[in-house]
Subunit: 305 residues, 2 copies
């Protein structure tokens, strides 16, 4: 049976519900609110937010499926150089789930996932996405667990996927002006379609497994760290690291730029920003502190798995 | 006597000292730290920061004078279409003072000033700059005072400067994705050189008066508002407005983008960011609240003076 765009967005909508339930259970205090929105030009989404839970300070799990006439900027993209700019009837369909979770306890890491599917009426279709982790304090055991889980998902489908997609995450989640990675990376992939080794269906199956890996990985990381004690100093460091997260998302993140430039729904796009963040002039961690250790680990090409 | 680039940067350095002294006096608790830095390719600067004062939570007053081989991106700018890209000997000199002050009390406004001078070895030279105000709560009396002071400075030099430069501030300090201005504007001007009406010397004199207007204007605004009481709700609103300030500076501000893209001194460039900022999903002010009133006043083309 052929996989249609509607099958895919239905699957994503169910994934959103599944993940929200798992996160609410892990949080224990409260549930995600639910807001539906529609897009004038076609489609819409469901934005679910958890605010001030037990564990989660601010988190969003967003579903969207938008479609209509292909926007002008698509024709300018290098990746779409095959498009005929006079094809004014070209239609697109884009659907995905995006997640960012900012926990209260600085010992629990920030997590981000995005999985998306895109197709056009000319036959172009692909999957993209990834999961990456931003610990305020890098814990080597957790980093190893996180990357091993992702590697297992990848290895089930293709022997090169983990290596390739881990590299892409290292390269993408990099704060150039700070010369540091946003966190410990993860996997990131784009424009996965059929090729000589993998069919469209096989890549769909891989992509689904990435989406399904999110809840068990993050609820395990919550369980491991939620009861750890922390000081005011740890909390201030968390706010500074969140400041870097804001810098990355507003300056470099392609999804954020794309959304803001195309008049997307601002409140959904910027749900990724933390409730509180901080900047201090020329802050330097103390010698041999946990903060300094974390900075040393915010570099590319660490083999965590 | 001809005005040289060294005269201009000496004058700016003195202005920095003068403004820091006036702000320290107004704050009453503490003074600005002082850090000198040099640029490998030529020149350097003096970064002065006030952290956790009585009135000022985080403020920076920065001087810089940098020079050397004209960087490649200059040749790509539309404004420099006269440049010959093969002129590899072209030298530039850029000097300026930049200020951002984030006060503790939400009733005291955030202020920003930048005045800069630029010249090249091919004879190009110009002044640029401006002052703009970002109240967390717009107070009409203060807004009128602020704009009237700027209008007086402009009117002394040229009958059209206030109207023109007020418009440029409205257009520049605009957060497109929020469809709101950053604050109540002020004046903003660029590439002021000699023309049929104003000599280079006359524009230098105007530009100096803008720099000298900063301290009396802001210390008056501090005096008027520093003792006003505020609630936890006012404080939370201040953090949300600071979030918008962060959005403007990281997404739209040309100085920030220019600095980060050219490997400028990151800690000096990002001194403009507040100590604490906040984001809340889909925050809506209460009906007829002071917060709602402020939002209604964050629009272009209000005639404050």
């Amino acid at each position: 049976m052929e996989i249609t765009k509607n099958n895919i967005s239905d699957w994503l909508k169910n994934l959103q519900t599944h993940i929200c339930n798992e996160l609410s259970n892990a949080d224990g205090l409260t549930e995600f609110t639910l807001e539906s929105w529609t897009r004038d030009e076609g489609g819409g989404g469901i934005t679910r937010i958890l605010n001030e839970g037990n564990i989660i300070e601010k988190g969003g799990v967003l579903f969207s499926a938008v479609y209509g006439k292909a926007p002008d900027f698509l024709f300018k993209e290098k990746a779409h150089s095959e498009l005929n700019t006079f094809d004014t009837d070209l239609q697109f369909y884009a659907t995905g789930v995006s997640i960012v979770i900012h926990p209260k306890n600085p010992m629990v890491p920030i997590i981000h996932m995005n999985i998306r599917y895109f197709e056009m009426s000319n036959g172009t279709k692909w999957f993209g996405g990834g999961i990456d982790l931003t610990p305020h304090y890098v814990n080597e055991d957790d980093a190893q667990f996180f990357h091993t889980q992702l590697k297992n998902v990848c290895d089930t489908h293709h022997k090169n996927y983990y290596t390739e997609f881990k590299q892409q995450a290292d390269d993408y989640f990099f704060i150039k002006h700070r010369n540091e990675t946003r966190g410990i990376g993860g996997i990131f992939f784009d424009r996965l379609n059929s090729n000589e080794e993998m069919t469209f269906e096989q890549n769909f199956s891989f992509w689904q497994d990435v989406g399904l890996a999110f809840a068990p990985i993050y609820t395990e990381l919550i369980k491991r760290n939620k009861n750890k004690s922390f000081t005011a100093e740890n909390k201030q460091w968390q706010l500074l690291r969140r400041g870097r997260y804001v810098e990355f998302n507003l300056i470099y993140d392609k999804g954020t730029q794309f959304g803001l430039q195309t008049n997307g729904r601002v409140e959904s796009i910027l749900m990724s920003l933390p409730k509180f963040a901080s900047w201090e002039y020329n802050f330097k961690p103390k010698l041999n502190s946990l903060e300094e250790k974390t900075l040393h680990l915010l570099v590319k090409n660490i083999n965590w798995a």
